[in-house]
């Protein structure tokens, strides 16, 4: 987590240093992004950018595909686990393989990746209450977690995050749809 945060903060700082002086206030296209490394590294900056974008996308794709498989396999009670051999959990394996192919369809159909990213981030925030509220009940269920139940402070923190996410979603989704 510390590593990821450091990288994210570094990206934000470099972006501000590069885009600010050039008068770019809003990144509207992926083609503008390599600009971040080109002034420093020249042509190899472009190569470096393409490579890091590729690695980041591959990682995210694998992670999200696995997440779908965990969701489906645990929901239906199948065997699951990325440490098992594929032949020991065929259902799980098929779900993550399929979700990687299915996820490529919208982009292959020509959807703008940047718009899709921003829209799905807003959707994620909107769906946060739906995924977290059941956990809130579970974390307060004595029969399940016994002495590890949430205290008042933890419950308040969770409720605050849910409310914040919901508010952000209410503000951002109409903006996304009506374009602003």
């Amino acid at each position: 987590m510390g590593f990821g945060c450091t990288i994210s903060i570094a990206v934000l700082i470099v972006a501000a240093l590069i885009f600010g002086p050039r008068g770019i206030e809003q990144v509207e296209d992926y083609h503008q992004l390599p600009l971040m490394l080109v002034p420093i590294f020249g042509f190899w900056g472009f190569v470096l950018f393409a490579a890091s974008l590729g690695i980041a996308c591959l990682g995210a794709c694998l992670e999200i595909a696995l997440q779908q498989a965990y969701l489906v396999a645990q929901g239906f009670g199948w065997n699951w686990g990325k440490d098992l051999r594929p032949s020991d959990d065929p259902g799980f394996t098929v779900v993550y393989s399929l979700s990687m192919f299915l996820s490529a369809i919208p982009i292959a159909c020509g959807l703008d990746p940047l718009k899709l990213t921003i829209f799905s981030m807003a959707l994620t925030a909107a769906s946060l209450p739906l995924t977290v509220v059941p956990f809130l009940f579970l974390m307060n269920d004595k029969a399940y977690v016994k002495e590890f139940r949430n205290g008042k402070l933890a419950n308040a923190a969770v409720l605050f995050v849910i409310a914040l996410g919901f508010l952000l979603a209410i503000v951002t989704i109409p903006l996304e749809i009506f374009g602003s």
Binding site: F76, G77, W78, P86, S87, T93, V94, Y144
Partner: protein, 119 residues
């Protein structure tokens, strides 16, 4: 024990702790003058579909029969007297390889997974 809360939709494991599905349905027997008792739990897509409505159940049952033959027409039932442990998971004294529950996973393994290089 509350049946809906503590039994329905809980994880089912066999005697080797293999995860074999969820408790998708509970079959009870009504007896004259005595309280009803659980006789089976049902596992599988058909039992799950029936809970969405009789028509959904009917169609899923037809699809299952077409794919898996006559034995797949009804959801798999585990006799309640095979139950060993009721906790977060429900353990039954059965071996999943002797049931039809994993037929579709066996099919996936043989026809698709094992043909992918590296699997």
């Amino acid at each position: 024990m509350e049946l809906i809360r503590d039994l329905l939709d809980k994880q089912v494991v066999d005697r080797q702790q293999t995860k074999i599905g969820k408790v998708d349905g509970i079959i009870m027997q009504l007896r004259r003058g005595e309280p009803p008792r659980i006789v089976f739990v049902e596992i599988g897509a058909i039992a799950l579909a029936r809970r969405l409505g009789p028509r959904v159940g009917y169609w899923v049952s037809r699809i299952a029969r077409r794919l898996g033959g006559e034995k797949s027409r009804k959801p798999y039932r585990i006799p309640w007297n095979k139950v060993r442990d009721i906790g977060v998971d429900i353990e039954f004294d059965i071996d999943v390889q002797n049931t039809t529950i994993f037929d579709w996973q066996d099919w996936l393994r043989e026809k698709i997974i094992c043909r992918i290089p590296g699997a």
